[in-house]
């Protein structure tokens, strides 16, 4: 997902009667569906885990601007250009809400940014893939925002108040993004032969990486079990992946496109599709920094940050002078 392979304490979930009173009271509040707010007591592991997860999610929104930004200057109509600009602007806004949510946990946006830029923190694997044709703008909205929604809708009920509220705002916009992406795919799939070719090619390239967004199976992961007990993860990776496949296959059929998986088959017994696992070796390569566009993405973000330093310094210096003048006048 936008936050993949987030590690928790790694010690496994404690039973209520093994907990100290404070921790037990905390867990009982979560079990009862209470929201935890910034000023409330929370276990150090919960805080640390949330910072990692929300930070990674925020970074994904920020880096996620790049593959779509790649086509803003080449959008084929004024309307498509405006829609894409608005979408990418939304993603920057999502980044902002999420950094704000993370800041309530005692970490600053600048600290998180530096951890992204020097590689200590990650962003979603999906944004390491190139956008090669205009159809990729359709595929990204349809599949990538679609997969993000699968994960983010349940997170609206997550236990940490500021995170849950950020998700509510974000989800509204994400479903709009997905519809716009699907609309591009539809236009392309019903278009000229060249457009159909672009649409199928985009699906071929984004199908596997979209399935990877949910992360490898976590049925046996102690990290996931802890996150689920804390309600900062609501479903298992396989569960969400299955839901995504089931939803997307019928949409692909509607578009007249072929999902690139020979093993894809409806399974009456489970009431869902059987499908092939994506290439997990490729996934781990991407996480190690070997995604097809990883170096470019990190270069672009580092360059933006470095080139912008004088602007941020200038703004701060001006604000400080203004403040000093106001104080002097009082």
């Amino acid at each position: 997902m936008y936050a993949q392979m987030v590690k928790s304490t790694g010690t496994g979930v404690k039973a209520l009667d093994e907990m100290e009173p404070q921790e037990r009271a905390f867990q009982e509040r979560i079990n009862a569906g209470d929201k935890i707010e910034p000023k409330d007591w929370m276990p150090a592991g919960y805080r640390k885990n949330l910072i990692r997860q929300i930070g990674q999610h925020a970074h994904s929104e920020i880096v996620g601007q790049l593959p779509e930004g790649n086509w803003i200057t080449r959008a084929p109509t004024l309307e498509r250009k405006a829609i894409l600009l608005a979408k990418v602007q939304d993603e920057a806004g999502h980044g902002l809400y999420l950094y704000c949510a993370a800041e309530t946990l005692g970490v600053t946006r600048d600290e998180l940014t530096e951890m992204l830029l020097d590689g200590r923190m990650k962003y979603s694997s999906i944004f390491n893939y190139p956008t090669l044709t205009w159809a990729d703008m359709g595929a990204v909205g349809w599949l990538v925002d679609g997969a993000a929604i699968m994960n983010q809708v349940p997170l609206q009920r997550t236990s940490y108040g500021p995170y849950a509220r950020a998700m509510v705002r974000i989800c509204k916009e994400e479903s709009f993004h997905q519809r716009q992406g699907f609309d591009i795919m539809m236009t392309m799939a019903k278009g000229t032969d060249a457009q159909k070719h672009m649409a199928q090619d985009a699906l071929n390239r984004f199908w596997g990486p979209s399935l990877m967004m949910f992360g490898p199976s976590d049925e046996n992961s102690v990290h996931s079990a802890q996150s689920m007990a804390w309600k900062i993860k609501m479903n298992s990776n396989d569960e969400l992946r299955q839901k995504f496949v089931d939803q997307t296959v019928s949409q692909a059929e509607y578009l007249g496109l072929t999902v690139p998986d020979e093993n894809l088959k409806w399974n009456e017994k489970k009431g869902g599709y059987d499908f092939s696992q994506p290439d997990w070796d490729e996934f781990f390569d991407v996480l190690r920094g070997n995604g097809p566009e990883t170096t470019e993405r990190m270069e672009a973000r580092n360059k933006a940050w470095d080139d912008g330093a004088w602007v941020r310094d200038g703004m701060m210096a001006h604000a400080a002078k203004k403040k000093a003048m106001k104080v002097a006048a009082e």
Partner: protein, 232 residues
């Protein structure tokens, strides 16, 4: 008007995802969006007046350099954030005055577009003025960069005030108001206005654009040109 907003909107959109700070990513996208929206209105109206079955997209994506009537200022590349914001400020100052004048046009379509656009542009001007002041006044480096932007772009200011037979309003008459507005902001920003008032021209008439425009439209028009039968 449509070519100005199209070309500047495109330039500003080039900042997508790489602005100095997240708030600027959002603000620049917002400015670009407003300008592209204005383009749809102006070029839509232009196509309607022309009455040859073209629409706003045909005008944006199927004309070559010589048919563009934008000011040279707006086709100047982004260079750094300082140049970008200085270009924005100089244009916003001009744009707001022109739109205010066009708002009283006898042509109700023009008046309506001008009125809608002026609301947006008033906000653009507020923002770009604040940024120019903050960075002009900020640090030694930010001051140096803003002055460099002003010096580099100043030779494109004069063209904005050359009135020709296609103008509905006397743009030359807007110069004193422009000078007053910009003097005020640039002064607060501790920047010095260049004394040489030489001006490049040829954008507005289409007679001689800069080399930058051709590259921009090569990018912008690639898809509709490469796939002329396609609908997007």
């Amino acid at each position: 008007m449509g070519d100005n907003s199209l070309v500047l909107g495109h330039r500003v959109s080039e900042w997508c995802g790489v602005a100095p700070v997240l708030e600027e990513d959002i603000a620049l996208a917002n400015t670009a969006l407003d300008l592209i929206g204005q383009t749809q209105l102006w070029l839509g109206l232009a196509a309607e007046c022309e009455d040859k079955g073209r629409d706003a997209d045909a005008l944006a994506f199927h004309r070559d350099v010589w048919d563009f009537r934008n000011l040279l200022l707006v086709e100047q590349p982004n260079r750094d954030f300082g140049h970008t914001m200085m270009r924005q400020f100089l244009f916003d100052a001009w744009h707001s005055l022109v739109l205010a004048a066009l708002k009283s046009s006898e042509n109700s379509d023009i008046a309506a577009i001008a009125e809608k656009s002026l609301k947006e542009v008033t906000y653009h001007l507020e923002r770009s003025s604040d940024t120019v002041i903050a960075l002009g006044d900020g640090t030694e480096e930010s001051h140096k960069r803003m002055q460099a932007g002003l010096d580099r772009l100043w030779p494109y200011v004069g063209e904005m005030f050359l009135t020709d037979e296609h103008d509905l309003i006397d743009v030359t008459a807007l110069r004193p108001a422009f000078d007053e507005l910009t003097n005020d902001v640039l002064d607060t920003a501790t920047l010095s206005i260049p004394t040489d008032n030489f001006t490049h021209k040829g954008g507005k008439t289409g007679a001689r654009h800069t080399e930058h425009l051709g590259h921009m439209i090569a990018t912008m028009q690639f898809l509709p040109r490469a796939y002329p039968d396609a609908k997007w």
